[in-house]
């Protein structure tokens, strides 16, 4: 076996999530060969990877959302790797932005960081954990407000 290009393209977590979900459906439908010894490794890795990715914000993304996000990102002048991290992680604080954008203190002003955060949080849907927290917050609010 030969590797022609070890870095042909970067994949977002969302793309891998879609691929693995489709693969799971396909294999469920075709049934029979799933448990043969040769397929154990594929079963294990796809199960574990899907489990991991499902807990990240990409779970609620769609091709349209990703496209909208990348278009909105054009004005911020970030590298591909930086945009990918924002897409995968959906940062909600300035500290996280500073981790993912190299030399952010020199390249972005505070207002620009705020604008970036706003773009990220408004276009990308919240991850499963953030949603859980949001639901809990809503519940507490209901409890506080009897009316």
């Amino acid at each position: 076996m030969e590797v022609k290009d070890a870095n042909s393209a970067l994949l977002s977590n969302y793309e891998v999530f879609q691929l693995l979900t489709d693969l799971k459906e396909q294999r469920k439908e075709s049934g029979k060969n799933k448990h043969s010894s040769g397929q154990q490794n594929l079963n294990t890795i796809t199960y574990e990877t899907l489990k991991y990715i499902s807990k990240t914000p990409c779970r609620h993304q769609s091709p349209e959302i990703v496209r909208e996000f990348l278009t909105a990102m054009k004005s911020h002048k970030l590298t591909k790797a930086e945009k990918l991290q924002l897409l995968n992680h959906r940062p909600m604080t300035a500290v996280e932005i500073q981790l993912m954008v190299e030399e952010s203190e020199e390249r972005l002003t505070e207002e620009q960081i705020e604008a970036l955060l706003h773009t990220v949080t408004s276009i990308l849907p919240a991850g499963p954990e953030a949603e859980q927290k949001k639901n809990m917050d809503d519940v507490t609010m209901d409890e506080e407000d009897p009316a």
């Binding site: 076996m1 070890a6 490794n41 991991y52 990240t56 190299e102």
Partner: protein, 241 residues
Amino acid sequence: MFVLVEMVDTVRIPPWQFERKLNDSIAEELNKKLANKVVYNVGLCICLFDITKLEDAYVFPGDGASHTKEKQPCTCQQSLLMLPAPSPWQLPIYFLALDLPILDILFHFRYVVFHPFLDEILIGKIKGCSPEGVHVSLGFFDDILIPPESLQQPAKFDEAEQVWVWEYETEEGAHDLYMDTGEEIRFRVVDESFVDTSPTGPSSAEATSSSEELPKKEAPYTLVGSISEPGLGLLSWWTSS
């Protein structure tokens, strides 16, 4: 953290798989060979992405012990993939007496591989602590280590609890933050190492060298992480209450 890797490989299709759709046979063979395996200097293979091209299909009479039989180039390469259920009899093959035909096809394909780039931020779970550092897992990938010097400083190893602790200093004094197993942790990938674990004698000079003998099996692919920056470490350290 995932990349697409272009590869080329020969896949051998045995006769009893001829009846299935060829693409499925090939996908299954490639996944059997690569899924959940580390390719040296490439990463951890997850699953097949697509097949981009096929080349030089060889059909040769029989297999088994003898490899001196001549390979007969197949003239119907393109149509092979379009045949719904080719029976061996329909292919232009030669077969001697009791030998059955085998298909040997060279494929160009793309595979999804886990290979975070240098400085990438990842979130994982603490698997445990040891004097070597904090061990982190992503579920599908386990070999991530954050060495003591890359922890939030000052840090100390609690021998009794077998856990690393960040002695976070505030005006009131030091506040011990424990790095417990199961906690979610955000870290930066600062280094990676590939070890050629194929059993072909002593490791080459390029492989990760260790001055001492390694008594246990070495992981073929390990990542080194760091949490020594604001925002890194346990997620609970940085979420606003």
